[in-house]
Symmetry: C2
Subunit: 279 residues, 2 copies
């Protein structure tokens, strides 16, 4: 099944646009987990099991694994998602960007080694830095367009032919690069009016939207700006707010139960502003 079809099915089955970001930071783990031999896997597995029915995607951020020599735990996490929750797409957040033979290696890393359904990448090196990923016909290429960080404007907001650069990227992907329906774009939640402009350019192409939760984007404005006509079209990511939710000790919550509670709250907050979603 293609990435887009798998994502569409997850939107429907779980009635959710929530993407759960897996950015494992051991210093934020519950103390009893920190010194275990495969602490990252154990922590992420608990989060995955607690949130799988609330999410349309899981998005592991590879940098957190690579810094700790923990690629083996990332492999185990991806294997676990595929086996225990096979209907939930895996988005490998790697923001790769290289050309030709090198991009082929990165595609192998994402799709063969980790078995990801989609991978994030930069558009800066152009078409031939994206094309090798599209050779994997059932996988997705999620291209940076307008990012939610302050420095995002340094390049993305430069004016090209009267319009900001990120709109050119959106048009380039929609009109030229998305030859087989495999592409999606990253657009941050912190600029809802820009999200709306991108949606207007790209039709029903999916968006990966970071910037709610810890980064403070407004959910109502984000959903209104980014949804498609049928009330889907987005993977709205939350990482830290879910992973490191504060347990309600009076209610006897552990970290995974707290993560589930926040994931459900976030999914439902998103659904309040969708058309056609049952809340």
């Amino acid at each position: 099944m293609s990435f887009i079809n798998k994502l569409s099915a997850a939107w429907a089955t779980n009635n959710s646009l929530l993407c759960v970001g897996l950015d494992p930071d051991i210093t934020k783990f519950p103390p009893h987990l920190r010194n275990q031999p495969a602490a990252i896997f154990t922590f992420c597995k608990a989060i995955i099991d607690a949130t799988a029915d609330t999410a349309c995607a899981f998005k592991p951020q590879i940098a957190y694994f690579s810094a700790l020599r923990a690629e083996d735990q990332l492999e185990a996490i991806c294997d676990y998602i595929r086996n225990a929750h096979p209907t939930i797409p895996i988005v490998l957040d790697a923001k790769r960007g290289d050309i030709g033979a090198t991009a082929e290696q990165y595609a192998r890393e994402a799709f063969e080694r980790y078995g990801a359904d989609a991978v994030t990448m930069s558009p800066y090196m152009g078409w031939d830095s994206v094309a090798p990923y599209l050779e994997w016909k059932n996988r997705g290429a999620i291209i940076l367009c307008r990012t939610s960080n302050p420095g995002g404007s340094d390049l993305q907001f430069l004016t090209v032919e009267g319009k900001p650069l990120y709109q050119h990227v959106a048009r380039l992907v929609a009109d030229k690069w998305n030859t087989n329906g495999q592409c999606a774009l990253v657009v941050g939640a912190t600029f809802p009016e820009e999200l709306a402009q991108v949606r207007n350019i790209i039709g029903d192409m999916p968006l990966l939207v970071p910037g709610i939760g810890a980064q403070g984007g407004d959910i109502q404005a984000t959903v209104n700006a980014g949804k498609t006509a049928n009330g889907t079209g987005m993977m709205i990511n939350s990482s830290r707010a879910i992973l490191y939710a504060k347990p309600d000790e009076a209610a006897g919550e552990d970290f995974a139960a707290a993560a589930r509670r926040v994931a459900l709250e976030t999914r439902d907050a998103i659904n309040r502003f969708r058309v056609g979603a049952v809340v």
Copy 2:
């Protein structure tokens, strides 16, 4: 010692602007190496020892290791360079690009785990995607500016305020980001006149220049366009042409001797067009 000082010393000591790229492709290895348990390390170690006195830098391309689950061999290669050839800087070619806490993780990966002296990165996400690397005061941040691939023009050649985007990137890095002399730029050899324009913008900042050798850039035009007043300022990269040089069997060469021969030829071809270099 800072990256820039280490690079400057290597330029002088080895009388070389040649950067030897380590893009290990097992299918191109000599047959007797292919099935060894640490074939990548063994191959790269032989190349490193054969070329260390001809080079100003080694540039391992991480994608080739990641696709094969061979990060341990990349660690071993970086350790080996640091121990056996401690004066040669290690440039980790990773083209990372992410923000805040994630970029901190990528910086740890490059500088702590692999002990690289510098790492390549994309400018697309702006200043806060570069800043975390600069916290490592003795390390270098090598930022994509104008790349040598055909698709490089898709974004980099868009016109912003009358000038192509890559020139804005060059100016941004030179005027704002290079606060501590840690930055360098990637500019391909395939567009010498653009290389000259970047050199004009950035003063003496180092350039990493791919695109000679297998990619066909012209050495004379590249050196004339990119060198600084003292005839340095560049790491001119060659990967495949050196790694997979065809041995002269009549002369009894093995793959490492062939690599050395081509590395020396390339270094000398570069030196012919430098000012102040002894050929």
